[in-house]
Every structure is written in structure tokens, then in C-alpha cells.
């Protein structure tokens, strides 16, 4: 809490924000898991994220949509603390995670992340992939970590693949191992960066089903995706981005069926006509 600069919500400054700015008052509402404020990210004088604000509430499933180059993945990486910010802050569970001018802190596994390219550890089996971080980062005994890994792999439908190496698994299976691996650290938030973009259509379904199960179990999720079907049926909130800004943000139903912005409408028309 001491690390938090003014403007970052903490339980103590709720009264201050109630009388002050309206945007921070909304953000400091209890139940906000993740809060990005004024996030600006620049690469070589090119700004890819223009002061974006995003607050994610506990239990929410947020789908981030938008054309390529809109800054969706960059925003997700900033929220994850993987990219330094040029301006703004990211707070996770009320703790400052990232702030302009300093290297982001690690959330210590409490923010789980799933990547487009899976990024499984190729030299470890599925079970070892899942148990590595609990063992090495949290000091969990090996037997316990392996039992846990088996439970999680069973949960994502990979009960018969504990001892298989990533190269022996299909893309969909690899991505499900990656989800189990992130879950092994008991995250309070799961970020998905285009989790099905590298998959054949037949494997997309099984990964999305696992994600939907996760959302149903109450996990807070932010997913950057091109899967309109998942946004429609799996998400309860849709954020539409273009040119490094959030153009539209609202309940999935509203944004997808009755977009208020011309830019969103054009994007949806384009996607749906394909």
C-alpha cells in the first residue's frame, strides 16, 4: 500500500476518491481485481497504447476484440506486468504492479497467463510442466505437486497424458496443459492472449470449452480473442479496441448486437461477413 501513488485505489483512500474524481471512485469499488489507469505504451516513438483505462471486476469474463494492430495484446501484456509503461499504472488486488518509469513487479503466479504459442517447457512432461512452478517457486513437496498436477490435468481432460512430452501432444492438448500449468499457481486472474489463434479449428473447440468451464467456476478472465462465438456465449463483457484505444466497452450482448460506435459496427460487419 505504501508503494501506491496518489490516484491508485487503496482501501484507505476510498473516502478521498468519493469526494474527488468519479473515475477513481468507480475503480476503488470492492471487487476490482485488476485496474489499469492511463496505460500508455510506446515502441520507438510509435505509441501503441494511448492512456487506456480498464477495471476488471472479480468473476468477470472480459473478451477484448478488435482489428490486428489495435493494441489488444500489448494491453494484456501491460496488465500482466510483462511490458513497462511509459505512462499510467496497473494495480492488481489493490497492490501496485506496474508504474511508468519502473520495471513492473512480478505477481508471483497470482496472475495466470496463457499464450498464443502455448510456451510449454519442451524438456518436461505435461505433469512436470504443471508441477514445476509450485515446486520451485512455492516450495511445494514434489509428491504433492504431482498429485495436484494430475488433478488439474484431469480437469482439463488430459488424464491419459501426464507423462507425455509437449511434442507428443496436439496443439489443443498443449494449450490445455498450459491452462493447467497456470492454474497450478492458484491465480486470482487468468489472462489469455489469443489462446486459439495457433490452433486448427477442431482443437479450438476443446480449448474454448475449458475456458468456459473456468469462467463458470468463477475465475476472473481477460481474453484477447478473434473467436466471436466465445465473446458472445462465454464472455459477459466485451471491450472493443482500435488504434491503441478502447472504443467501446459494455455487456457482451450490447456491444455485439447493438454497437454504439461506428468503428465497432464496421469491425463486426467485417468479421461476420467472413
Amino acid at each position: 500500500m505504501k508503494r501506491a501513488p496518489s490516484g491508485t485505489p487503496t482501501s484507505t483512500d476510498t473516502t478521498a476518491t468519493a469526494s474527488g474524481g468519479s473515475s477513481t471512485a468507480k475503480a476503488s469499488r470492492p471487487g476490482t481485481v485488476l485496474l489499469g489507469q492511463g496505460m500508455t505504451r510506446t515502441y520507438h516513438a510509435r505509441t501503441v497504447l494511448h492512456g487506456v483505462d480498464l477495471a476488471v471486476t472479480h468473476g468477470q469474463t472480459v473478451a477484448v476484440l478488435g482489428p490486428s494492430g489495435a493494441g489488444k495484446s500489448t494491453m494484456l501484456r501491460c496488465l500482466a506486468g510483462l511490458e513497462p509503461l511509459q505512462e499510467g499504472t496497473v494495480a492488481f488486488q489493490g497492490e501496485l504492479l506496474s508504474k511508468a518509469g519502473t520495471a513492473p513487479r512480478s505477481a508471483g503466479g497470482r496472475i495466470g497467463m496463457v499464450f498464443q504459442q502455448f510456451n510449454l517447457f519442451p524438456h518436461l512432461t505435461a505433469a512436470q510442466n504443471v508441477s514445476l512452478a509450485p515446486r520451485k517457486a512455492r516450495g511445494m513437496p514434489t509428491a504433492q505437486a504431482h498429485a495436484r498436477a494430475r488433478d488439474l490435468l484431469t480437469r482439463v481432460g488430459l488424464a491419459e497424458h501426464f507423462d507425455h512430452y509437449p511434442y507428443e501432444l496436439s496443439g489443443g492438448q498443449q494449450q490445455r496443459v498450459a491452462i493447467a500449468r497456470a492454474l497450478a499457481m492458484d491465480p486470482e486472474l487468468m489472462l489469455f492472449d489469443e489462446p486459439t489463434s495457433a490452433l486448427d479449428p477442431e482443437f479450438t473447440r476443446e480449448v474454448l470449452a475449458v475456458m468456459r468451464d473456468l469462467a463458470d467456476s468463477g475465475m476472473t478472465i481477460v481474453v484477447v480473442t478473434h473467436e466471436m462465438d466465445f465473446a458472445r456465449r462465454g464472455a459477459d463483457r466485451v471491450v472493443f479496441m482500435a488504434d491503441g484505444r478502447i472504443v467501446e466497452d459494455g455487456p457482451a450482448e450490447d456491444v455485439l448486437t447493438a454497437p454504439r460506435q461506428e468503428r465497432t459496427r464496421r469491425f463486426l460487419d467485417q468479421i461476420l461477413s467472413e
Partner: protein
């Protein structure tokens, strides 16, 4: 030819072979350890990176024979008196570090960046990422070129004969000078070198196989032939 056989199995040649092997193993061990440290330092703060560049430039840019003679003749002037064997180990490993640093650096660069990112998000510290994620993968990439270096070192160690280390090379030369049987002496030494390099190559292949996950998986399947890959559809949570 009788001279050749007698020499090949003589105590002189066998102990010389042992010395050559010791020299090679020690220099290579220090070379690999130093190379790993320099490769890691290269990714550290700027001045450290400059030091590594300077080191590689110096030791890769001058003949190892020069370095050997330098160590042997100059260190005593500075009050550092080492045996010829120690001097040879110092010179050969200093030189080897330069090559190994570049090889290990290549190996570290060969590990996909996404591996570090994923491990970081899982809450592993930088040191643990290196130990459990990056180095095991880099080791596999680094092994074949390191094997090359190893075989090369075995032969380069013959230069130690110049500073009077009683290795295989010097033994062969001394024997030849004593009885003028150059063919027998040199062939005996050549056979010993060939035996060493062959054993080394076999050993390296064995390690390479052990690090290869595809072979590990194949070995597991042989142990448990009943386990078959079930159709993914049966496990598909979407189909439940």
C-alpha cells in the same frame, strides 16, 4: 613394426596418455564453467558485457601457442611459479573459455523468449528460470558444438609438449629421438589419440541421446507398451 607395438603398450605411453587425458578434461571443465559464466555475464550490465567482448577478442584473436608460452614464461617473472602442467591447464582453459562463451551465448539465445515469459508469469525468479527452464534447453543446443571443442582440445593439448609437459606428444618425440624410430613412435601416439577421440565421441553421443526428449519418450513407450494415445475426441471436454 615391432617397435610400434612395444611402444603402444609401454608404460611410458600409457602414463603419457593418462596425462593428456587429464590435461584435456581439466582444461575443458574449466573452459565450460568459465564459458557459462562469461555467457551469462554478457547478458548482464553493460561494463560486464564489454569485459566479455574484450576477453573473447583477446583470447580468440591470438594463437593458443602464444598464450601457452606467455603463461609459461611470464607468470614466473611476476612471482607466480606453477608446474608446466598447471601452466598448460591455465593457458588452454583461458583460451577455451573464449570459445565456450560464444557457444553458450548462442545456446542461451536459441531458447525461445516465450519460455522465459511463461516462467516469469508462473512466479519463478530469474535464477530459477535460468536453472530449471533456460539452461536445460540450452544444454541440448550447446552439446554438439561442445563435443567438437572437446575433441579439438584433446588434440590441441599436444601443444603442451612445447612447455615440457610429459604428454603423449612429447613422449613420442623423445622416444623417436632416442631410437630414430619415428614411424613407430608417432604411429603409437596417433593410435592413442585415436582411441581417446573415439571414446570421447561415443561418450558424447550417449549424453546427447540422454538429453533428447524424443528418445526418452520412446524408451517410456517400450516400458509400457499397453498405453496408447487415446483419441482426443474421447477426452474432449466440449463433448462431455
Amino acid at each position: 613394426m615391432g617397435g610400434f607395438l612395444d611402444k603402444a603398450v609401454s608404460a611410458d605411453f600409457l602414463s603419457a596418455t593418462l596425462l593428456t587425458l587429464e590435461l584435456t578434461l581439466l582444461s575443458m571443465l574449466l573452459g565450460v564453467a568459465g564459458g557459462v559464466l562469461l555467457a551469462l555475464a554478457k547478458g548482464g550490465p553493460r561494463p560486464l558485457g564489454w569485459f566479455v567482448d574484450g576477453y573473447v577478442w583477446l583470447f580468440r584473436g591470438t594463437p593458443v601457442l602464444l598464450q601457452l608460452i606467455f603463461v609459461f614464461n611470464v607468470l614466473p617473472l611476476w612471482g607466480l611459479n606453477f608446474s608446466p602442467f598447471t601452466c598448460a591447464v591455465i593457458a588452454l582453459s583461458l583460451n577455451e573459455i573464449a570459445y565456450m562463451a560464444e557457444i553458450v551465448r548462442g545456446g542461451l539465445l536459441g531458447v525461445d523468449r516465450g519460455q522465459r515469459t511463461a516462467a516469469h508469469m508462473l512466479g519463478l525468479s530469474e535464477a530459477k528460470i535460468l536453472r530449471w527452464v533456460v539452461l536445460p534447453q540450452a544444454a541440448r543446443l550447446v552439446l554438439p558444438p561442445t563435443g567438437n571443442q572437446f575433441v579439438g582440445m584433446l588434440k590441441t593439448s599436444a601443444l603442451a609438449s612445447v612447455v615440457s609437459v610429459q604428454d603423449l606428444m612429447l613422449t613420442a618425440q623423445r622416444q623417436a629421438a632416442a631410437d630414430f624410430d619415428y614411424v613407430g613412435s608417432l604411429c603409437a601416439a596417433a593410435v592413442h589419440y585415436l582411441v581417446l577421440t573415439s571414446l570421447l565421441t561415443l561418450g558424447l553421443r550417449w549424453i546427447e541421446r540422454r538429453l533428447d526428449v524424443t528418445r526418452r519418450a520412446a524408451a517410456r513407450r517400450e516400458r509400457q507398451p499397453v498405453t496408447k494415445h487415446t483419441d482426443t475426441a474421447a477426452l474432449d471436454p466440449a463433448a462431455r
